[in-house]
Amino acid sequence: MAEVHRECIDRQIQASTVAGDYRRTLELLARTYLDTVFHYCCRMLNGDRALAEDVTQQVFEEACKGIAEFRKESSAKTWLLAIAHNLALREMQTRGRRARLLDTHSAEVTAHVHSAPAPESESEVLSQEWLRRLHWALGQLEPAERSILMMRFGGERRGELPAAEIAQILGVSRAATYRQLKEALAQLKRIMIHGGG
């Protein structure tokens, strides 16, 4: 059902783009995928909502500049997340000070997480405490690993990208994408359990 809705929206976006009605295209893109992009940016930027808001705006600004070139080769969400991926990575690389602050913060969180017992049941997994640890562990991942996990699992089921489209964004094969996803997930769990390394 979600796929049908997404295809329908994508057709409308493509039709308005082909018709040259870019304002309509922008409205459709923003109303449909703003949440997905913001969630991605927020997770990529370690929950910094203000920064995520800025990057999200930049994502849609870049989309507006290249809106005339948007074609059917990829879905609108793939296209937007590809832009968000690049902008988020660039943002993380250029903001060293922010990275250092995150390192300090992560050290504090690491100490807190290590004091907590490992999860043993589903109720515990889904508990608030376990989520805080997951959030912290996510911030410990390499940006590329965090990005691929957020694209694949970071937008609930409706906002998630299939592995094939992630492969398209990253410019790698589908198998390589699966491998990277599996490695990123394993690394994330390792960090949660062992506190990194």
């Binding site: 409308q12 304002r23 923003a30 999200t56 507006c64």
Partner: protein, 337 residues
């Protein structure tokens, strides 16, 4: 996909996957972000393409399945398109036709004006030519008079018959009998006069022409057409000329019957004149007396000599019957006056 993920990633990682999804649920998008994105984005949008009309959008959308394929809607859109395309063209064509009609009317109006002007000029020219023709005729300049009448006949077809007769008369007075005959016999042969008197004039002039050419029988035939046509203005002169023709016949035949017929015709001429006035009758008797004078006692006629066929009653000089009749007429005329 869910099954694939379990197989691919393993059961041990499912809790992490679900945890990631739970984290996404906990993130709320700022309410004002949508407005910000739209406001800033609109400023950066490229100019909207105008080449694609709404109808094309419909077609494109229907091709992509975004909207249902148009049925009646497409027909209606096509009709509107045709109207939009053809409408202005029709309006433009109607405007062009109106302009052309206006121009045509202006040209026709100018033509009417020019024709009216030409007609007025023609009337002036005809009046002037008529005056000139009559003046030259009175002055005895018959060739010039004839030329003026010819100009009128050629300018106005409606006046052609009358003025050809006048031209023929001028030619006859100019002693160009052959030309006069040609005009009367050939040029106005197929033409009909609106008035019978004009036809009688033609017959009278034609009789005079044949008379002058020496064709007395034909001249007699033409004169009698006029003389026997009932009351008309040429009848007196026609009877007189008939009397002259009989006198000339007598000159050749010496037949007394010709004298009697000549006297009878002259009598009819005087009678015709007497119907108008006694003075007219006396004038006719005087003309008869003048016509029997010997030519050596007459002034030069219009042709530069003393002879004129239509005024020749000299063959009756010495004929007792004619002399007695004429004397009697003179006495009666003097008594009536």
């Amino acid at each position: 996909m869910e099954g694939d993920e379990r197989e691919e990633y393993g059961e041990e990682l499912q809790d992490v996957i679900e945890g990631l999804r739970s984290l996404a649920r906990g993130v709320e998008t700022p309410p004002a972000l949508l407005a910000k994105v739209l406001t800033r984005g609109e400023c950066l949008l490229p100019p909207q393409r105008r080449s694609m009309g709404w109808w094309r959008k419909v077609v494109m959308a229907s091709r992509r399945g975004v909207v249902a394929p148009p049925g009646w809607g497409l027909a209606f859109a096509s009709a509107c398109l045709v109207l939009l395309c053809v409408g202005p063209t029709i309006v433009t064509l109607r405007g062009a036709v109106a302009k052309l009609q206006a121009k045509l009317e202006a040209v026709e109006e100018r033509e009417r004006g020019a024709l009216e002007h030409e007609r007025q000029l023609t009337n002036i020219v005809i009046k002037q030519a008529d005056r000139l023709g009559r003046a030259n005729f009175e002055l005895g300049r018959y060739e010039e008079s004839e030329e003026s009448y010819w100009q009128i006949a050629e300018r106005n077809p409606q006046l052609q018959y009358d003025y050809l007769i006048k031209a023929a008369t001028a030619a006859w007075y100019a002693c160009d009998y052959q030309k006069s005959r040609d005009i009367l016999e050939e040029r106005i042969k197929d033409k009909q006069s609106s008035e019978s008197s004009k036809d009688l004039l033609r017959h009278f002039v034609l009789g005079s022409v044949y008379h002058s050419l020496g064709d007395l029988d034909t001249a007699m035939h033409q004169y009698k057409i006029v003389a026997e046509s009932g009351e008309n203005e040429y009848r007196e002169a026609a009877w007189f000329n008939v009397g002259v023709v009989y006198a000339l016949k007598y000159k050749k035949s010496k037949d007394e019957k010709e004298v009697a017929q000549s006297i009878a015709a002259l009598e009819e001429s005087i009678k015709e004149a007497s119907l108008r006035s006694r003075a007219q009758s006396a004038e006719r008797i005087r003309k008869i007396q003048e016509a029997r004078k010997p030519f050596d006692q007459r002034p030069l006629n219009k042709c530069g000599d003393q002879y004129h066929a239509t005024q020749d009653l000299t063959p009756l000089i010495g004929v007792s019957a004619f002399t007695e009749w004429l004397n009697q007429k003179q006495v009666l005329s003097q008594m009536s006056l």
